[in-house]
Symmetry: C2
Subunit: 140 residues, 2 copies
């Protein structure tokens, strides 16, 4: 079973976001389990990230992919990580430079998104990535 983590700083509990994310978690069940981890601060974020085998950090200045390329990249990273992959989202001040220098940076858009929208877009793209790999009609 593929196990993904989404590690970010500072928990927020917008009810609309939980509802939307739960919908995608349900859809993702046949493909992967997703665990959300909330770091208290940047140093905990760096510490937790250092323990992961395979990491993708989200940053507006990272590489831009279309959804098919993203599907390819994350499947490659999941394989490298032995069915494990951690996504890291920075806090209000963005990604700590220590992570920015060390890991592959991925951008969902050149635009700046709120953390909440980043989380939603990411989880939908993860779901889409599995549908693309499976060749379903979800992505056309």
């Amino acid at each position: 079973m593929i196990k993904l983590k989404i590690i970010s700083v500072g928990k927020t509990k917008e009810s609309w976001l939980e509802e939307a994310i739960n919908e995608y978690l349900k859809r993702l069940k046949p493909y992967a389990s997703i665990e959300f981890l909330w770091a208290k601060n940047d140093s905990q974020l760096i510490d937790w990230t250092s323990k992961e085998n395979s990491v993708l950090c989200l940053d507006p200045l990272g590489m831009l992919f279309d959804s098919s390329e993203f599907s390819h990249v994350i499947h490659q990273k999941i394989q490298e990580g032995g069915a494990r992959l951690a996504f890291v989202i920075g806090g209000a001040e963005g990604l700590p430079s220590q992570l920015r220098d060390q890991y592959t940076l991925l951008s969902l858009s050149p635009m700046t998104y709120t953390h909440q929208i980043t989380r939603l877009v990411l989880i939908e793209q993860i779901y889409r990535a599995f549908e693309i790999a499976k060749g379903t009609k979800y992505h056309k």
Copy 2:
């Protein structure tokens, strides 16, 4: 008062999306009113769009902007349109080629988003655009 329209095909009523969008509509009140229009099909979408003075069409193959550039572009378009601007989002099959050929195409990301997520990202970027123009701390 600035009046914006978001014209798209096919109404969807996810409760999480309504809650999220209502939050941004509330925040946008001091800046602009936003009207959502739901076309029944592509020909109605084309018809409604043709009646607008200032139009931006959303398409994954459109121009990519960061949030500051987007703020600049939409303020320019709002001025051209006499305090009016319409955003057009295509249906499940994407934007009709007639619109794609005629109007400025704007991309929120090279990735393919669902219509629901497109609407949410768009409205947050519109709100951000006004905050950027005002120079508040929302965007940093």
